[in-house]
Amino acid sequence: MSVHSLPTNALSVVGLPMADESLPGRTTTDDEELLRRIGRGEIDRFADLISRYQKHVIRIVSRRVPADRVDEIAHDVFVRAYVGLAQFSRSVAFEHWLAGIAVRTCYDFWRMRKGEELPVSALTTAHQQWMDHVLASQSDDQFCEQARRREAAEVLEWALEQLSPENRAVLTLVHLEGHSVREAAHLLGWSIINVKVRAHRARQALRTILINNHWESEHDAGR
């Protein structure tokens, strides 16, 4: 029995990521038909796949790369998908395969950036104050309000910038997005053991970054 013939709730049982809620309601037979036609040389049918999945890809990419690079990276994702279409085994749903390409393209983006050795941005007093507000917040509403502030995204980016591309990729999938280790391994094309070890190390690294910053800010306040 192929994955395509499984009911939707059975996908979670076999450990595959569930379909994104943003995807329009349709069956995977539509994808099959489109892929068959593209395979027969009807390249223009790929535009249908782009319009069907661009929201899905943009959502993945925009959570991983700077906002001004989202267009470019999402573009690369679809070109890579087209080039690798012959390797799509159809053992998983097309959106999962595409999500894997998106995650790996973003990972490659950070690997390339690592070579450029860009300076890590520093936190300002506003960011430190935001952290103090977070720690002081008592209710869920206050907490959510803090998470929506610009400083929240900037502190997150500041912390992620200090991680290696591997740790960043795993931390984003496992800790920030709540994917299982198996799902993360599937999306990154890595072994489960590798992802498990990386996930642990990445979280430790993030905690160390946050602790060091806390000490530094307390030290600065004490002077």
């Binding site: 959502r59 925009s62 267009d71 977070v134 720690l135 929240a152 920030l176 905690r207 946050l210």
Partner: protein, 101 residues
């Protein structure tokens, strides 16, 4: 759990929430058309893998042909002295008695 651990957990939770609520940007108009233009270009460009394969096969075919020519010429060259040697040996046997009578 120490107060420091609690603070760390709080910060982790708020950063997770910040990641979740990150706004999704709107793409430039004509973005999908640009992607399709590049895909059509990819289709018309020669595939580098195919080029490499063609070079490998051409080189292999030339190498095989050269090897065949060398082998044939070596055999042809080595056969002439062999016949000659065999002829001389036969003459030797014919002219010399095998056993002393």
């Amino acid at each position: 759990m120490t107060p420091e651990d609690e603070n760390l957990e709080k910060l982790e939770r708020v950063l997770t929430e910040a990641h979740r609520v990150r706004p999704v940007p709107i793409l430039k108009p004509g973005w999908a058309e640009q992607v399709m233009r590049d895909i059509r270009n990819v289709e018309t460009l020669p595939n580098p893998q195919t080029c490499v394969e063609r070079i490998v096969w051409q080189t292999a075919a030339i190498a095989a042909a050269v090897a065949l020519i060398v082998t044939v010429s070596m055999v042809a060259w080595s056969q002439a002295p062999l016949h000659e040697g065999m002829g001389l040996l036969t003459e030797e046997f014919e002219s010399t008695p095998l056993f002393f009578e």
